[in-house]
């Protein structure tokens, strides 16, 4: 395999890998606190909606990089607010978390359509935006051979923010008191409660963080991959759930899992590259690859699933 192909694969892995990592980390915070969050897809749609609306309505107010930061902030806030519904239903009302999550998923698509038709100038659900957020080349770093081509040319700010989130997330989860308490609430909430931890509050934190990250992830996925947002993230929220499970609810493994899924996605769409055609393998094989490898890997890893023990169960103080 020549370097060009390598560079292509790695470069194109990033638009999949970064949003998947961010969203799966969000799912991790929620599930580690004991609340299953299958609403990731819906929250992504919701967060991306508001981020894109922001870009749509204030196009020339500020420099592109500042604008994308502001849009990310808005995506995060809207993600938090939206996930509040899930938190309220599954923590205060002790509702079934799967049903609550599904409700959010269904709601987000419809809400985007409704809102977009109401407020865009065209009155349509597709919101077009000019992608001015790509950074052609980062000074100095872009000149490093190979590495510069890989990571410092034609990049998005979100790539570095995503990596930053990964570091912060693993630090918070393992090295802070907050992280320890959060994990305790997901494993054995009664034990946590007995030493004075407010389980409901910790779970709220878990769900709201997942909302923030999923909202951000939605925007980060949309920006580099289309020129118009139509209120769909094409199932990447559910793929992030798979990444979460595949990554065993651990930040570093989630990152590897996201990279793996990202690479598989790229390979399945790159059968036309000279390198792959030269291998003489049937083109359909490449399209099967992501699913086949997922099946194989899950077969070997599922037996030692490390899912948080209390995930999915509403906390009931009286139940022992």
């Amino acid at each position: 395999m020549n370097t060009d192909t390598m560079i292509f694969l790695i470069r194109n892995m990033v638009p999949f890998m970064i949003p998947l990592t961010i969203v799966a980390l969000g799912g991790m915070f929620s599930e580690r606190s004991g609340v299953v969050n299958i609403a990731l897809e819906g929250i992504m749609v919701f967060g991306a909606s508001f981020g894109i609306f922001f870009i749509y309505f204030v196009p020339d107010l500020m420099s592109p990089q500042l604008m994308i930061l502001a849009a990310m902030g808005i995506a995060i806030i809207s993600g938090v607010l939206f996930s509040w519904l899930h938190a309220y239903a599954s923590i205060n009302l002790k509702a079934n978390q799967t049903i609550s999550g599904t409700a959010l998923n269904l709601f987000a698509f419809a809400f985007h359509d409704f809102l977009a038709r109401l407020i865009t100038k065209t009155g349509t659900e597709g919101v077009s935006f000019k992608n001015v957020f790509r950074i052609e080349k980062i000074p100095f770093f872009g000149d490093i051979p190979v590495l510069g081509d890989l990571f410092f040319k034609n990049v998005y700010l979100s790539t570095f923010i995503g990596l930053g989130i990964l570091v912060v997330a693993s630090f918070v989860l393992y090295k802070t008191r907050f992280g320890l308490r959060l994990r305790a609430c997901g494993e054995h909430p009664h034990a946590a409660d007995s030493v004075g931890i407010n389980v409901n509050r910790m779970r709220y934190w878990g769900v709201l963080i997942s909302g923030a990250l999923a909202g951000l992830g939605g925007l980060v996925l949309i920006i580099p991959t289309t020129v118009e947002y139509t209120g769909t993230v094409s199932g990447y929220g559910f793929l992030a759930l798979a990444v979460l499970i595949f990554g065993q609810w651990k930040p570093s493994k989630i990152f590897l899992a996201a990279a793996f899924f990202g690479l598989m996605q790229v390979i399945s769409n790159s059968s036309g590259l000279a390198f792959f055609t030269s291998l003489g393998i049937n083109k359909y094989f490449y399209q099967i690859v992501p699913y086949l490898t997922t099946l194989i890997v899950l077969t070997f890893t599922s037996s030692k699933s490390a899912s948080p023990k209390a995930a999915g169960e509403p906390y009931d103080q009286g139940k022992r």
Partner: protein
């Protein structure tokens, strides 16, 4: 707090229910469009047809609305048509060949309603029976000519490494693709150059990061311009083109506003033909029971030269080849089973994936 919330929400439900029961306030819509897969702003044929409806209705102060089927099935389409008729529709516009069986049923179910069927003529699901009633006007477009013009223009303009990404191998998209390859061939023969075309159907009409990656791969392999005849999926191709500073040819409607990478669009006159059909209806000259194919001779297809970004290809050249198509000096084949069956000595077609 909870009680107040509960009472409030009950009140809300009661109020909204009573609002629904006020029959006399239910508005009716004379003109209706039922959407195919995708919505009225797909920057593609739903939108083109919708704009025709909208334009006519706005100019003549007629009520109009669109209906979105719950799923892509004949049953759902018939149901949506039923909704439109219940909503007071006198004319129902149905864009897309998927509607052929639905309109086949609806034309006898609602004989008093007129149908404008685009890209198809009514037939049964199994293609066994074709029958058009006097309340249906079926319009085909010569997509192969539109695609031909795009392929011709691209090669004359100096592009030699082309790509074609179709949404799905449905008749209209296939005609676009085959026309594109033949246009490239004629131009390549004229200039005596060799041209390559990567050719693939994406099996999707929706934007997706996967399409963006695929297009990025093609561009990295040296493809200079991709003709994206794939509705919303084309938006992801444009995103890839923006990143690679490469080019895209849009489809169905003028897509130049979507991205700076769009050099031209292979359009078909959806808006104008729907507008014309509605004009006929209100002039009591509705061409019911007829099937037409709108081609270059009827200004049914073409490139929007005003917004095109060509360097050497120009209006004069466009008119020249356009006239040849009208005169029949150049005939674009549209019934080849596969793109590889086309005889194109100057063009190397590489089919990616299934055909």
């Amino acid at each position: 707090m909870k009680k107040i919330l509960a009472v409030l929400s009950v009140l809300l439900i009661v109020v909204s229910l009573t609002a629904c029961t006020k029959k006399e306030e239910t508005p009716t819509y004379e003109l209706a469009l039922v959407t195919d897969i995708g919505t009225i702003d797909d920057k593609s044929f739903n939108q083109g047809a919708w704009e025709g409806v909208k334009q006519y209705a706005d100019e003549h102060d007629i009520t109009y609305n669109y209906y979105k089927p719950t799923e892509a099935s004949t049953a759902a389409y018939v149901e949506a048509i039923g909704l439109a008729v219940d909503g007071g529709a006198k004319v129902v516009v149905t864009p897309g060949y998927m509607f052929a069986p639905a309109v086949y049923e609806a034309q006898t179910l609602y004989p008093e309603v007129k149908f404008v069927l685009l890209d198809a003529d009514p037939h049964t699901e199994d293609y066994a029976t074709f029958k058009i009633e006097s309340n249906v006007y079926a319009i085909y477009y010569a997509e192969e000519q539109s695609g031909f013009l795009a392929g011709y223009a691209a090669v004359i303009d100096g592009y030699t490494s082309l790509g074609f990404m179709g949404g799905m191998a449905v008749p209209a998209v296939v005609r676009f693709g085959h026309g594109f390859v033949q246009g490239a061939e004629v131009a390549a023969a004229e200039l005596n150059v060799n041209v390559t075309v990567k050719y693939e159907y994406l099996n999707s009409f929706a934007p997706d990061a996967a399409h963006q990656t695929k297009a990025a791969g093609w561009y990295s392999e040296g493809v200079e311009v991709i003709f994206a005849a794939a509705g919303g999926a084309g938006l992801s191709v444009m995103a890839a083109a923006d990143a690679a500073t490469a080019k895209v040819i849009g489809v169905d409607v003028d897509q130049s506003s979507n991205s700076a990478s769009v050099i031209t669009s292979a359009t078909k006159g959806l808006t104008t033909s729907v507008y014309a059909a509605l004009t006929d209806f209100y002039a009591n000259t509705f061409k019911g029971g007829t099937i037409v194919t709108l081609d270059v001779a009827k200004d049914g297809v073409g490139l929007p030269m005003a917004t095109s970004k060509f360097t050497t290809f120009n209006q004069a050249k466009y008119d020249e080849v356009y006239d040849k198509l009208v005169a029949g000096t150049i005939v674009v084949k549209k019934d080849a089973a596969k793109v590889v069956d086309l005889v194109v000595p100057h063009v190397v077609v590489t089919v990616e994936g299934a055909e």
